[in-house]
Symmetry: C2
Subunit: 241 residues, 2 copies
Amino acid sequence: MPPKTARIPEPGDNGRAIELLQRHSLTTLVQQELERQIVDGKLAAGTKLNEANIAAELRVSRGPVREAFRALDQSGLVRTEKNRGVFVRQVTLEEAHEIYEVRAALDELIGRLAARRITAQQLARLKDIVKKMHAAARTLDSAAYYPLNIEFHEVLAEASGNAALIENYRRVVNELNLYRREVLARDSKSIPISARNHDDIVKAVAKGDSALAGKLLFDHVIDGRDRLARTLHPETAKGKK
Amino acid sequence: MPPKTARIPEPGDNGRAIELLQRHSLTTLVQQELERQIVDGKLAAGTKLNEANIAAELRVSRGPVREAFRALDQSGLVRTEKNRGVFVRQVTLEEAHEIYEVRAALDELIGRLAARRITAQQLARLKDIVKKMHAAARTLDSAAYYPLNIEFHEVLAEASGNAALIENYRRVVNELNLYRREVLARDSKSIPISARNHDDIVKAVAKGDSALAGKLLFDHVIDGRDRLARTLHPETAKGKK
DNA sequence: CGACAAATGATTGTTGACAATCTACCATAC
DNA sequence: GTATGGTAGATTGTCAACAATCATTTGTCG
């Protein structure tokens, strides 16, 4: 009589690789590739995406490309015009203004939850990132600062322990990248301010002060938005309520 | 050199109807139809969606159906398993718990913004809805109360004046409908509490008290979540922090 | 010379067919 | 009787061809 030979493939198996290959269809691969190129800025905002060309480049037929377009449309990275094609989404100043508010609300929740749930390991990572941030701030090195900023908020989001929140946060940040990309380097003056903000946020989270961490993050995002807006349009910014 | 003959069709045209027909491709129509059926509950959570069957029912080929699936997948209404098909998404208790928190954060922002920007007309609509709510609450008529509740929050969202926020709000609420649908009628006891909440919210918005309106809405959503959770799982709820 | 109209080329929208994969059932061996 | 292996049917993944629509150019008329 054979004993229970229920074979559960242990993780670390090569079954891991098999599973990945099985889950990825051409549609998802095309989607990921296009998303990468858009977020990285290799496909500039407003660029027209030609189905046939992309299909030829990626060596697939138009079907998977079209399906990937629908997914990207829904996630806000491209906009579709019937019989005209799909274009990398242009985010106007007004839209970005609105999206920043949404991000602020999400980040506020991230702060509140992270203050309660963050692990010692995650907190150590944050402190390490902040340390590097101050180094970059001293030389106003925006090229070094920018990825640190991304990473800081990403770690914080993960520390919230809320998968739905993380997902929404990432989508919104992706949309904002479409707006922010072109104007990154211009805003080096505000780096020291931003770096100090992160200091305070880490302290609040470390203390477990949920309300304070939330409020600091909300204000941090809104301040960043307004600094960026002033950098882009110095004349119109001051009168804005 | 292209002569700038930018022809702008004036609004109020009959071009309005034409424009709608021009914008809707089969893919978008299929997407809207499926979304309607899912949110209405005609397609129960977990249902397998057969490409060929749906294509036959809607008298289109499989292509547009597949594209609609990708869009619905990205918006969280269905989940896709490679070579197995797409299924109406099942939202577990834990996921719903998380999504409710995201909704609470979005609603908090809605409250803050609406308190500043709401028009007299919108405020009148809210008061009218609340009046009807109290009528439904007196008889614990959950069938009448539910659509009023939807409408109340929809009007409030529009009053926020933030298109990106409204969009995110609707997506999250759509996801929650997948969870809430099955258990609506059970929770009639908490209707009076919910109705009083709406009273307070309207007052805060009318006063223009941004912070209070936000806090009331946040708590309102979280309270609703917890009441629903207690109704579903009376035993596990009390120990929850 | 400029404006309108028709035709041409390019691109998207849709469809049906083929290939790959999974599910269910049945036969066979122990 | 249970378990293993294989086969048949159904379903999804991908592709290429056809139809519809849009953009551009060319030609004609005023």
